[in-house]
Amino acid sequence: MTGNDLPALNIADLQSLLRRREVSPRELISALRGRIEAIDPDVGAYLSLDFDTASKEAEHANVDLPLGGIPIAIKDIINVSGQPCTCASTILNGYRAPYDATVIQKLRTAGAIPFGKTNLDEFAMGSSTENSALKSTRNPWDLSRVPGGSSGGSAAAVAADEAFGALGSDTGGSIRQPAALCGVVGLKPTYGRVSRFGLVAFASSLDQIGPVTKTVRDAALIMNAIAGHDPQDSTALSAPVPDYMASLRNDLRGVRLGLPKEYMIDGIDPQVRAAIDAAVKQLNSLGAEIIEVSLPSTEYAVAVYYIIATAEASANLARFDGVRYGYRAENPKDVLDLYGRTREQGFGPEVKRRIILGTYVLSSGYYDAYYLRAQKVRELIRRDFAGVFEKVDALISPTSPVAAFKFGERAADPLQMYLADIFTIAANLAGICGISIPCGFAELDGHRLPIGLQLLGKTLDEARILQIAHAYEQSTDWHKARPPIRVAPAKSIGKSRQPPERPV
């Protein structure tokens, strides 16, 4: 095993190498560094890297801990002490996190080493990472396409072997959709399963942190480390955390899977539909019973989401005012001028749009018509899921109706971008857990583009969807496919890879 082979490995394989002392944590960091330096000029997954600190931590890593010596990439919206936390926004220019998020403390306790911060749509608002104010991230399977979003940097890094595993955050699909578009595994835990303390808040009733990994087993490993109660987050659930590794089995006898008929819409790309149909057959052949179910409120999910998420965002992002941290407009003539110009210059267009929409739906005279009504329809969506989970153990759908799209293809029309989240959004509204795993490829313009299968599970039933996902994964080879990315000759970097225009 040489340093060049190490980045392609998954966490479980690395653990055995580390524990047999065949490789050291420092060698892992150094192998990853080599890979990132060679590949990331093309992919653009990272916003910041700190190999010096990571190497020092690797020196005294205890490889017998659950994630001992394993470097983990962190979405740049989660605070890691001493590191930048930009949220891919100009408004957090220069900010250094004064503390660790609870998930980072938990990762460290499990022996993992945070070493780099990954790109995202500004404040996690977007589905393509095109809304990053700082850089473009490209899909490792086709560099002319987006990696999905908002955790596009985390998904691209794991797909391109620039990370063994990563943390993302998911407010309406932001872990699962980029995982699908990049061909990796992404888990959104039940709302409250993982502490949000230290995650910069976008929509507090929807946000959840979760793992992005190469295999389902690795997702279970990270969940074992990060799940659980936290006195610092009053919404973090106190329910005991099961051993997610123990649930991984290879057969699905007795498992009932629901196919929501409302999810079989016309907008699904035929190649995506074919892959999902084949996956359903495969799950059936592993012993699962397939049952058609109905979620009648599905057509309202996107509308409910864009009222509730923007309303919460408008309140959460009020803290960015040029006083306590980050960017501040020059020479304000009074305090309103300071706020108005700091936020004009510091926020990008999508963030401004969402704050304005959220302010509107909460404003006097419109609150009942928009926000209150959306919350009531949210309750109907939650009841839909509670009802079907009495009949089935999990639900199956595509993660995204389409494979990775081209830069700019959807950016000009915010509504079209929002509709890309149609299969993922309801899980956040209902608070349930969901996972995306690779289930095939679409062929587009001579490129193979990954397709994701989504499994949705009931509240706190992560162990069950991990079990189903693992059984499916182990019976297929999709997760073994690697993107055709090559180390580019230096002269082509920067020439053919100019950042696409940022949408307005």
Partner: protein, 96 residues
């Protein structure tokens, strides 16, 4: 539901303390108008007797021990401030 013609982007942006250029205001007016037209569909849902869901899971009255613990020093809390002096944040004059 409220008609979308009621959205005045310039007015709401002022409430949100975001200055907009005229061009931005014009683009946002159209784009957010489209989004508001789309969410009009919620007006068709029968929500009589449905209680609003503020959170997906029923969690109430979460307490933690009211005990002192180590946290940021004032210096650390101020370390990211664009302007500060003598342990205080500096803002423009608020009261005449």
């Amino acid at each position: 539901m409220a008609g979308t013609s009621n959205l005045d982007v310039g007015y709401v942006a002022r409430l949100a303390r975001i200055n907009l250029t005229e061009d931005e205001a014009k683009i946002f007016q159209k784009q957010l108008g489209d989004v508001l037209n789309y969410v009009e569909k919620l007006g068709r849902v029968d929500v009589a007797g449905i209680e609003a869901a503020a959170h997906a899971l029923p969690v109430f009255n979460v307490f933690r021990e009211d005990a002192p613990r180590d946290w940021f020093t004032a210096e650390l809390a101020l370390s990211n401030a664009p302007r500060q002096t003598n342990g205080l944040f500096i803002v423009p004059k608020v009261v005449e």
